[in-house]
Chain length 411, copies 4
């Protein structure tokens, strides 16, 4: 078996493990070093570092400290890697821990994080998903069982100083356009909860002031939350610093395109088995700015879909100009209304769209003024038939089960 070069202890704070970190900075020391051609295993905490529990109370979701996320395993140094190279990464496998056979999905309160449909679901809710081998189901969302399309939500190499500065510049510029907005427009560096890995305390203190938050995807990949970047795929990452510095975390058992629930996919702790190789000077050879990848030969084969359309006219009837976000939101809302006809609550339907292997396509992006997005709902994950027929839908669920909700506290 490949060597596990980063280990974690689910019973300890992520801050105690110096092979984890939660900010991007070029000076974070390598947690371990490998050679091209090596394969190795990294253990990962869940993205929140254990803040969410396997219970029926959503107050942990409501009260989450998002300034702590995401705890990443790494950086892993690769011998010989230099700026301008491409780091070829094979995700050989991803798995769960024997004593942690579950994951969580939820909606953050609009006051603390929000999500894609936060105007419709403004309060904290969560659902717990149990793993049964390759499959998952939830005591909070009955009527479905599906195979996991397991993937890391977040993976990428350390930025160099120039790139880091650019990230901070442009995000600050956006933030400053509406600094009071809730949820905020961008997550800026925040030192108090930074974890800078093995960095010496004094250095860490300084670096934390500028260490980029891990929330958005960026040029290096990072928190892309691409469900198809799953175990078995092969990815080519830009290298910016000597040794590359590959970090990974935010493992998902399954997710729909968009990760619309934000909190998040089916979030889990687990391990990832990687193999690395180099394409010297690959960034310029292939004109690479962002990572590219080949999908896995092994993915759940849910090939029958019911597809919902959405256009860029919002819930109030307002016309937006070619706005794919508005269009995808309408497609999601259309799917939720449809699922409610079978007995799901709106929250359950929303949770399903965030967790199941749903596809979201940018179907039309030029037909002014309406963008057209489609949401592809796999029909075979349901224990009953959800296709339309002349008799109309049957209510398979009686409403006796719903997702826990934790109302916002008075302020």
């Amino acid at each position: 078996m490949a060597e596990t070069i980063i280990k974690i202890d689910l019973n300890k704070s992520a801050y105690e493990n110096e092979k984890l970190h939660n900010r991007w900075h070029p000076d974070i020391p390598m947690a371990a070093t490998v050679k091209p051609g090596d394969d190795f295993i990294l253990e990962c905490v869940d993205w929140t570092g254990g803040q969410i529990k396997n219970d029926d109370d959503a107050s942990d979701v409501r009260d989450v400290d998002l300034s702590q996320v995401h705890f990443l395993s790494g950086p892993v140094g690769v011998e010989g890697a230099e700026p301008g190279d491409l780091l070829e990464v094979d995700i050989l496998d991803i798995g769960t821990f024997d004593d942690s056979q579950w994951g969580f999905n939820g909606f953050f309160s609009k006051q603390n994080g929000g999500g894609f449909l936060t105007e419709h679901f403004p309060e904290a809710q969560k659902s717990i998903w149990d793993f049964n081998g390759m499959f998952t189901k939830s005591r909070h969302v009955p009527g479905v069982e599906f195979a996991g399309l397991i993937h890391p939500g977040l993976i990428g190499c350390l930025p160099d100083k120039k790139m880091l500065d650019e990230w901070n510049r442009r995000e600050k510029e956006l933030f400053d356009t509406d600094p009071e907005r809730v949820p905020m427009l961008a997550a800026l560096p925040y030192a108090p909860t930074a974890h800078m890995g093995k960095m010496k305390p004094d250095d860490a203190k300084v670096a934390a002031e500028e260490g980029a938050r891990t929330v958005p995807p960026r040029e290096h990949g990072g928190n892309c939350d691409i469900k198809d970047l799953s175990r078995g795929s092969k990815i080519y990452f830009p290298v910016y610093v000597k040794g590359a510095g590959l970090s990974v975390g935010d493992l998902h058992f399954s997710q729909g395109d968009g990760e619309i629930t934000f909190c998040g996919a089916i979030e889990m702790a687990g391990w990832i088995h990687l193999r690395v190789n180099l394409i010297k000077d690959g960034m310029s050879k292939y004109a690479i700015k962002n990572p590219i990848f080949k999908p896995s030969p092994i993915t759940p084969r849910y090939d029958d879909y019911l597809i919902f359309e959405g256009i860029s006219v919002d819930e109030d009837g307002k016309q937006h100009y070619l706005d794919a976000n508005v269009a995808y939101r309408q497609a999601c809302l259309n799917a939720i209304e449809y699922l409610k006809k079978f007995g799901y609550s709106g929250a359950q339907a929303y949770s399903l769209l965030g967790t199941a292997p749903v596809q979201g396509h940018l179907s039309g992006v030029v037909d002014v003024p309406n963008s057209c997005a489609t949401l592809w709902l796999p029909t075979d994950i349901f224990e009953f038939d959800i296709k339309p027929n002349a008799d109309g839908p049957t209510k398979y669920l009686d409403g006796s089960v719903d997702m826990p909700l934790a109302p916002d506290l008075d302020k």
Copy 2:
């Protein structure tokens, strides 16, 4: 063989055929009537009504009159259909005419229509695609041959008056925010080039003043340009008027998600074989606002992809807030730069993304401030290997062939 209830003559003007129309209006008379359970064939002109020719000169693309589009075949009345029903439509097949074995793709001038990458490709260009049975290739874009994912870009039922008024209201409101913009923000009703089908001249004159343009997708479906709504799929359309009034046009031999080139997919004249059925009161039974559909069991099986990521930081380094359009544009630009390394011109690469069965996914939509979109390029359509390797790319094309370009004329 099913009866061909609407026929066309490619040598005559679309305006001469009263079973075609190019505006949406509830009062357009039915061009033909069928019963639930019937199957029938409709012939269709290409979306421009024959303005673009099979030659090596892009001036027809530059000079296109977009106020004429799209010429639709219909409306087809369905006996017993009433507002609130769902019209179930099986696309039994779509085909080409023996004497019209070709289609076109192009970029409109930024001065006259534009497209998704119009800032990068501001002048009119076109490519011609020949059909060889189920496959297509182009004398202007060498190195690829692929199977057609044939579909109607535009299909839907007539709106009622209330819906029409709402369309006109909201689109006018948007238009008025910047009436001078080029390209314009919305295509408003325009009587001079309207074709109102069988409507009597006097009535047509009045109706044309408010007849909605066919460019955007809307609640009824319409110009969704969804490549997966292909032959073999089953669609459920909302019905707004007595008899439903189903119209269809804008046939595509193949298209990538987004139809980013706008002019357009691989555009063609051809025929479509449909079967219709009704789900009485289906809109309320299933909470349907926009059409839903099941994909076809028969589609090209291009399952190996190279996937490009894009984030919502634009070409100038400006940070946008969760803007999926910007993200998808970056993914497209990344793919184009990659393909140029193999010898394609930028225009050829752009054309490929508009025509081949490319997928565009809304991969991440919540990780503030960056949306993450992915563009999936099928690798098996190429006659050479486009995957990265340690030696770098080989220039398979020598640049001797490119797409015709017609510069904007002085004004």
Copy 3:
């Protein structure tokens, strides 16, 4: 459109068309000639040359003259082709005639042809299948509708004299081991019903005495009845004579692995669109004895199956030694018994296995003494759910419809 180089008339006898033939012989003159790189269309009669009618009477199946089959379109000469080359054939498309939108399936009488399950279904029966665009259904086998996996049952190049002699030698040797057997062990040359294409009458008379029958698949391909050699596939045929001499016929709208019903798949008249190229000296370069091929990118995507096992113990409990035929027969019988629980007659179930895109796998071939074969029945072709559940099956069919049967006549 590609040129149609062989045309047929469904209202005339196949014998009147000198661009057809029904025997294999090196001296049959080319019916047409093409160049490498050309694409062209061949029209084909159904394999029996029109002996079976679109009606509800199976006596035509019972009384079929099998010595006439198969009528092939060709041979097509390819300029520059020489013995030892590989002829690369792209099946660009296959289609039906507007005035012949139907096909037939049936079981021959055990006295006249038989079939894979002839001991269980010894009398002639037939089912008619109507085509609706890409889909088919039958008035004799209700409850299913599926997309066609259209393919030629028979395609290959002319043998040279040496190969022809070898065919005749070995088949005669087998025949002679039991000359009285019904059905017979092999179909030997039979001059009275031979159609030798353009060959001059005197020459034809001689050649017909040794012209190989078209029934079995052989080294050149021929009557392989491989459902996956469908439109869109690319095949590499061994070339034995100057000009290659490619002939094709026996078009199938759909077929299950094995073509177990023998009469046959869903048999049809139609046209096939081909493109040819040469790999000079390809037989020795690639050690080719039999044709090889790449499957089509476009095939019906029926990916959910119910899989039946069979082992090489026959219906009487007799143990056979690693006999895959016995094993597959048991898998077929198991599937038939299963389908009868939903209301199908045995004949209808048998017909379904012969026509639908059923897979037959040689799953285990070494575990003495039992071969294990599996029959894969696609579940999505049924209008109802055929999967097992705790409540047991529902009889969806009431038995009021069955396949016509024509009893053997007294002798």
Copy 4:
């Protein structure tokens, strides 16, 4: 995590573990008991009980004691199961042991077991396959790496006494037709190496005289070696005895259809995670004789193939009557000759066909006298392009690496 109810120790003899057994007999006591709805894990030794080592010497394959195989984990009793029920088994997952990340494939000597191509490969050879997460490659068969289609080669319920007697009767009858044959026609009961699980020694001694060998697949399933019965699939087993008595073993990391190499697939020790449910009286409800199953939603997506045909004319030119075994053997030999053109030895090519996710189809079974079988070789498992082209094949392998061979010893 589900409970592991049967554990093994790879360092101890399988005979010491009373929760294993290697014969079928109704009186073998349950090794453990579960309830309907339970999920649980069984650990399994490899099918030979550890006789084959991870080294470069094939003498262990030559000297294997086949009378010991297969060591099965079980039987597992299911509360409430009665004869006539169907036992629904979900294979939730299958995995490897951290300290046993390898498997073996080989050919038995013709003197001791043989295989599908034993006339061509009469001496013992082996290849070792290393596991890298979901992928495998071999130091003895370079140039390929592929994802595992992990499955149990052997799974089924205990027979009752009547069925056991029938098995022994019919297999003895076959054996007696040629008792001296090498390899033998059937493996009859053989007491000296029997392992009867928890059975008391005196009872075991008696039962071992009639306990059926585990080699062939039979009505209960058993050693079917069906590659598609993989993790994620759902199987319905006939129940013959109270408590069902489910046993499983012979885990394969990957296998081609037919398991043609007999020794065997990629054989491994590992664990299997199962869930069981009952369909009461299901055998009669659904007319079940042999098990049926639904394939997994998660399987390697190797969808591009090169397909080889074979017909039932043997290597000596002898014509066989509709013999699918002969046809499949020819398809295998054709593929081997083809692969040799790229530099593989015959043994390496044979091993590849036995281990990779190759499909074997019964393509035509009625076209007298030739059966037509097809072997589907996935092209994406190779590190180089194996498709034909006009220039002919490139020798990617230089022949410096081959599979170890252990010559038969003098007698």
